[in-house]
Symmetry: C2
Subunit: 346 residues, 2 copies
Amino acid sequence: MSGSAMARDGRIALKHGAGGRAMRDLIRQVFLTDADSVPFEGIGPAAMDDGAALKLGDRWLVITTDSYVIQPPFFPGGDIGRLAIAGTVNDLAMMGATEPLGLTCAVVLEEGFPRRDLERIQESMRAACRQAAASVVTGDTKVMGRGELDGIVINTAGVALVRQVVTDRGLKPGDRIVVTGTIGDHGLAVMACRHDLGLDTQLLSDVAPLNSLVRAALECAPGAVTAMKDPTRGGLASALHEMADKSGVSIVIDQAAIPIRQEVRAASELLGIDPLHAANEGKAVLGVRPAAAEAVAVALRRHPLGADAAVIGTCLAERPGIVILDTGFGRRLLNEPEGEPLPRIC
Amino acid sequence: MSGSAMARDGRIALKHGAGGRAMRDLIRQVFLTDADSVPFEGIGPAAMDDGAALKLGDRWLVITTDSYVIQPPFFPGGDIGRLAIAGTVNDLAMMGATEPLGLTCAVVLEEGFPRRDLERIQESMRAACRQAAASVVTGDTKVMGRGELDGIVINTAGVALVRQVVTDRGLKPGDRIVVTGTIGDHGLAVMACRHDLGLDTQLLSDVAPLNSLVRAALECAPGAVTAMKDPTRGGLASALHEMADKSGVSIVIDQAAIPIRQEVRAASELLGIDPLHAANEGKAVLGVRPAAAEAVAVALRRHPLGADAAVIGTCLAERPGIVILDTGFGRRLLNEPEGEPLPRIC
């Protein structure tokens, strides 16, 4: 029996929700079996991008959805409510749609969930909506019995109209890779809080809606941003691999140029987790035409959420799909993680 | 301390997800605290309708979301996958939007969930999509640890464009109330299967996408359908109360005219549950201008999903918000249920 046939007889494992290869295989094998027949013009589920895009007259209707299961629901720097708004606003923004028409919010609660916590989460969602200039336009509430759900799950979907869609597969040889800020903050902050590392400095999640930051990048050099992705589950390594693979290019990353906070580096060493594999919830990876890369980085740095933006790599035509880390002492392959190292990170 | 202040210090109870008054109170108090400031033209969360509607040029973009937590996920007549597609297609249809542009599908799984069950659910979603001429255009997969989630939760959101929105608050005095078929089938089928009643005949859920049925009703008498609602959690009684309350009319229902299957009636007596309080997942309640009511009923009956359609009541101007049941021997108030009698019915 092949590995894949075994998996078909099998059971769902944590890695199937971890944003990496195991999840993509499950999605291809179970969810996308007749995706080729999707009867619309645009970007559908088979693209496995941050959302779908449907042609609507001279514009694109971008649609995205995510469920949020993070544990704990309140973490340093944010909570599940802020995460649910930012995550969906960011998925729209990664498709170039920086002005959400509306978000939906569906909450599933465990019987006995403290009402004050729900109120705090709602207040946080409202604040994140204000920051993103977005609105929750409709919702749903379900309750499961005690012990049937660990606390709270929130789903947000979002829709937006845009004239020009940006995908995660548009990288061309020569394009520069730009990150909008420090890497690994969300993943390490949540892990440190779960493990109570007793660090001197508190790590904070970077969770934030990025649509105004992305708009600044898109507007400073129209047409120059060739691909975007937010490095959530599986971190920067996973995002780069997916972009390289889908675009048919290789990517060489200058390790020294990747912005990583000193305290994130320290926590990642304590926990034995590569910060390049850790989730980010307020960062984007952009492919930019070479002539515009520095201008885009400057535009990003002018925005409060992009102060640490950096040009970190270059796309090449040879050996499509691989990602190479230039350490300064030599070059090595940057492995794609199987998935996010810890469950329920978002 | 007032009841409401006590509730604010409290914890979430099953009734807060049961579709009745307790749920609406929670939504008003926690989710809608600044809904008046929603910055768009159209129908927003404060309307608490089946979805939102945003003005887009000369049309309305209708958006809806629901999470599905039904237990068991496979039940007589359907499963959580068919329910998730039908439920969201029906919420769009209840706003007059019978041609879904696209659906999203976000699945949260418990570690250890059988992969074969997931495949069955996906196959069922695809079949329901074909029946509704709808497509899932994007999705999300999360996994929670063993014991952190009871099996599977699915969220679907949907978007559609429509020229004319139908709300649940448009009833006018004189309007006739039409139901598209037998009442209580889904709720009693799920309850009977949970309780293993040992009935001779198996009750089947009515779960079905109603968009083509609704289209037949809307097209046979343009402008004559004044309000629509699908009587899910809380059943026909809850839907009628909400429609009467929001529309500012009373409704008199002719009890003998309500179509109820004999086996549903039998099971409801065994379980002590009023079929008018039990959930439906393949039925709609329509308000229709009096001159068109019979034509709408005839158009519904020509459709395979509307064979048992019936005109069951009339709207009056006096005593707005109340629902009266005419039993044939006298008249009594039809009480609004606190919510669906059983948790996780959808």
